[in-house]
């Protein structure tokens, strides 16, 4: 019996917990890509660098808070900086839309133009981030490191295998759950959410119904940028790797491919996907 429990703990410790935490980050990134795909109808290659940009702002403000001696232990100070990072990502994405994408929207450009444009935007954003914070690893974690420590778990249960859950992993999953439930409720129930789904479903009819495209696009960017900042911060904290990704190749593909899974999943034929097609 203890062998079985040990095996269960082993797989939980090494597969389940990190897997769920990583999956949560991917889900956050993918939902952002999906929202933009549903409303603006293109795969946004710059989403990964939007994540990096939001994370950078979170790191800078976390450092500033830390230097002032701010602490909310056992929680990490980065949680306080996160809203600022979200706001910065929103400003960045709305600015990009105003400067770049709106021009093509007015021309009703085909989606391949948007995709290529977003690759350009990706390089610019990446350059900005590298210019400000540099390409090196940055540490900004504080607060408690673990919710459950391996040693304590072994002592408490008497098993041979230990189970460790990092605070950042727990926070990531919790934040993802809150955000995903909130987002789905928003899309399903609210007036604006329904307008966004209507616009995604049938653009012309939505216009006939009086839905303002600029408003819908505005909300799409706000949501996508918020998700990007959260996802970027979460993945940097959890995997503890550099937030400044070596260009696109590190960060954009996972959310993009995860988004394609969201779109092609069998249940996306029903109403459970935010933007069924």
């Amino acid at each position: 019996m203890t062998d079985f429990l040990d095996a269960l703990v082993l797989i939980t410790n090494f597969v389940l917990v990190p897997g769920v935490a990583y999956g949560s980050q991917l889900a956050l990134g993918a939902l952002g890509v999906t929202i933009i795909y549903g409303i603006l109808r293109f795969a946004n290659f710059a989403h990964g660098d939007l994540m990096a940009f939001g994370t950078m702002v979170v790191i800078l403000f976390t450092w500033w808070f830390q230097s002032m001696g701010v602490s909310i232990a056992p929680l990490p100070v980065a949680l306080l900086a996160l809203p600022i990072g979200i706001a910065a990502a929103i400003v960045m994405s709305l600015g990009t839309d105003r400067l770049v994408y709106r021009f093509y929207r007015r021309r009703r450009a085909p989606s391949v133009i948007y995709i290529l444009t977003s690759i350009g935007v990706m390089f610019v954003m990446n350059g900005i981030v590298r210019f400000i914070i540099g390409p090196n690893d940055q540490r900004f974690t504080d607060g408690a490191r673990f919710i459950i420590k391996a040693g304590e778990f072994k002592k408490a249960t008497g098993l041979h295998e230990g189970l460790a859950i990092k605070l950042t992993q727990g926070l990531t999953v919790l934040v993802t759950l809150i955000v995903v439930v909130g987002l789905f409720r928003f899309l399903q129930k609210s007036r604006t959410g329904k307008a966004m789904r209507a616009y995604s479903d049938n653009e012309d009819l939505a216009l006939l119904s009086g839905v303002s495209p600029e408003r819908v696009v505005f909300y799409a960017w706000v949501i996508a940028a918020s998700l990007a900042a959260i996802a970027g911060t979460a993945s940097t904290k959890v995997s503890n790797h550099s937030p400044i990704f070596s260009c696109c190749c590190r960060f954009s593909p996972p959310p993009l491919s995860a988004a394609s899974v969201i779109h092609s999943a069998p249940w996306s034929a029903g109403s459970s996907s935010p933007f069924p097609r």
Binding site: R191, K194, D204, L208, S209, S271
Partner: protein
């Protein structure tokens, strides 16, 4: 002076005009049907009246106001409802959400209107939680018409409402359209099923190459031997 009139409309999508001085008008509580051969510009005339086409000449007036330069959305606000021929529902949303989207521009409580539409189309109440894309062709058309009625329009414009539905469903849809007319709404529609449509119409227009060829009461057009021979198949 008609309630809605598109007068001497000339224009098209590109360089070539499709409409050549076409005039269409409709009065409150009246069904007006536009019929004509393929490529006559029937749907184009509808789009022109609704502002989805820039006119080079002519004007559109609603209740005496010139609305020629207004956008379609602005016309919806002014009390015009339009049901396109295709893609006229939100296929991924429920029937109820479709109707709610129809009332998107309304700030007041639209539950009474919703009840009225459920009374007019009882099947929609039954299926209100179902995804609209899963409905049959006739039911989809009812959703589409219901969506347009949610704004409580004074003019309802229908582009081939019976396209692709069975004859029984078509009769039923026409019955509903008569009910809508009887509630005082002006109904303007384009129809392929010309004979049946003219039978319920108060007036009809026969359009050929973007011009009015005949304009008369529905019954008179049906009885006109030339119209019968040319457009109604004998």
């Amino acid at each position: 002076m008609s309630f809605l009139i598109g007068e001497n409309m000339t224009g098209g999508y590109g360089a070539a005009d499709i409409l050549h001085g076409c005039t269409i008008d409709v009065e409150l509580g009246e069904i007006v049907v536009i019929v004509g051969p393929n490529g006559a510009g029937k749907s184009t005339a509808m789009k022109a009246v609704f502002g989805m086409l820039d006119l080079r000449e002519g004007s559109v007036r609603l209740d005496g106001d010139d609305i020629t330069r207004l956008s379609p959305q602005e016309r919806v606000r002014r009390g015009m409802g339009f049901v396109p021929q295709t893609s006229n529902i939100f296929t991924s949303m429920t029937v109820r959400e479709n109707l709610e989207m129809g009332a998107y521009l309304r700030d007041d409580d639209y539950s009474t209107t919703l009840e009225q539409i459920f009374e007019l189309f009882p099947i929609l109440k039954e299926k209100s939680r179902q995804i609209a894309g899963e409905l049959s062709g006739g039911q989809r058309q009812q959703v589409a018409v219901g969506r347009a009625l949610m704004m409580q329009p004074r003019v309802l414009m229908l582009d081939e409402p019976t396209a692709g539905v069975s004859p029984i469903v078509m009769d039923e849809l026409f019955d509903r359209i008569i009910e809508i007319r009887n509630s005082g709404i002006a109904v303007l529609m384009v129809e392929q099923n010309a004979a049946q449509a003219l039978a319920i119409a108060d007036r009809g227009y026969v359009l050929v190459t973007g011009e009015n060829r005949f304009a008369d009461s529905g019954q008179a057009l049906l009885d006109d031997p030339e119209v019968r021979r040319s457009f109604l198949g004998g």
